[in-house]
Amino acid sequence: MINLIKKWLISLGSPPFFFTWASKFLSWFYPISFLLLLTGLIWGIGFAPSDYKQGEVYRIIFIHVPSAILGQSVYLMMAIFGSICLIWRAKLAGMFLRSAAPLGASFTLIALVSGAVWGKPTWGTWWVWDARLTSTLILFFLYAGIIGLYSSIDNKQKGDRAASLISVVGVIIIPVIKKSVDWWQTLHQPSTFTITSAPSMTPDMYLPLLICVIGFYSILLSMLLNRLRAEILIRERNTSWVQQYLNNQVRE
């Protein structure tokens, strides 16, 4: 059994095999992830009860929290695949990095912007130099650096490996950054605003949030695989299987 899984995982590393697998997987997973996302958002924004303290504004949580979670976990994924790319020189891992970085950056940006929109009515300001906000902003800068790095290197494989290296180094340093930002907070100023210690959520609020998180994760996976497919087609455009695939597409 384990050997079978191992074999399957290894064969996933070959671009043509991965391409067909991803296409098959996406054909049913893409609709499901859309459905999950829509269910979560409609339930959360339309039907969940309003907060007794914040009223309707709190509904931003259904976008803010999932995208903040994704912003961080995409970086972790990038570091994992980055180390695979560095150690085994797996081509696909490098492509993964390239497809994931802009997605992670966008989710971090969504988290920052939705947080600002949420902060304005509840805290009275768009931005606070709070430890969490600051470290999210720095995370966004890290993404920007990685994207800038690989897009400035013409040789794709070198770009992949350089981006892998910096994301692996980044993931080691991120805990230090977080810790130091916490210190800085306590040292400079007591935080003026704290995220209102919310009343422990009722299932009516918690369930849609959970579905939103799952929905965001699955839509991320779908977009990621789709981007990977495109990346594979571009990189392997000179191989026979891509030519064959494209010819079939044209004929259909």
């Binding site: 800068f141 800038g148 790095l149 490996r161 350089a162 290296l165 692996v168 180094v169 950054i177 040292l187």
Partner: protein, 226 residues
């Protein structure tokens, strides 16, 4: 090189070579210094010259200026050697690249980081640094600039042949802990607290960062020569 070349000889060889080269070209160690002093000068021009106000800002301003000038100087670590092919020669010489990186970082720090300490002495008069902060400033800059040189070497190796601004964008977010700890040393010294705990932490980062970042830089150099 004689036949009994050891790692230490190799290390000293690279170090000496880099130092001699940079002292022959005065620009390599003058420009970061002048840049540092210019940045320091910009702050009173922008924020006003009132003494007490400037002195509250002084430690932060000096740290930011040090960060910027040491990261903008990273271009000189590998780019020159890459362009004239010396780096290729180093790599095919069979000597360990890790030692090469270590020597180059040390040379870079001696040429740009250590003079920065002297320049920060001048800047304390410009910005009216509060009494008694000189020692914390110097010791935190001493450790911080070496860490910045290490990070800068990584950025420089990743962006060999490209502009320094790209490596600054990559490295600046990673240098946040250094800045925060450096300023924390100053703030706690100002408040009369024990600032050595932050220095210990800087020292721990230095102890882990020196081998770790040198390894990463070595890998980054190899990526360029695949």
């Amino acid at each position: 090189m004689n036949e009994k070349s050891t790692l230490f000889n190799w290390f000293m060889l690279v170090l000496k070579r880099d130092l001699v080269l940079s002292f022959k070209k005065i620009a390599t160690f003058m420009i970061p210094l002048v840049f540092f002093l210019i940045v320091i000068t910009l702050f009173p021009l922008a924020l006003g010259t009132e003494g007490s106000f400037l002195s509250t800002l002084s430690s932060g301003v000096i740290w930011v200026a040090a960060l910027l000038s040491s990261l903008l100087a990273v271009e000189s670590i590998f780019n020159e050697d890459y362009r004239d092919g010396t780096l290729d020669q180093f790599l095919i010489s069979g000597e360990p690249t890790f030692i090469l990186v270590l020597a180059k970082v040390l040379a870079h720090w001696l040429v740009t980081g250590a003079p920065l300490l002297l320049a920060s002495l001048i800047s304390t008069f410009f910005l009216f640094l509060p009494e008694g902060l000189l020692f914390p400033l110097l010791i935190s800059l001493l450790m911080g600039t070496f860490l910045l040189s290490l990070l800068g070497a990584l950025g420089g190796a990743l962006t060999i042949g490209k502009t320094a601004i790209l490596s600054a964008v990559i490295v600046l977010p990673l240098s946040v802990p250094i800045l925060i700890l450096g300023v924390a040393v100053m703030t706690s010294a100002l408040n009369g607290q024990d600032f050595f705990s932050y220095l210990y932490f800087l020292g721990a980062m230095l102890a882990i960062g020196t081998p770790g970042l040198c390894l990463a830089t070595t890998e980054a150099i190899f990526i360029n020569y695949d």
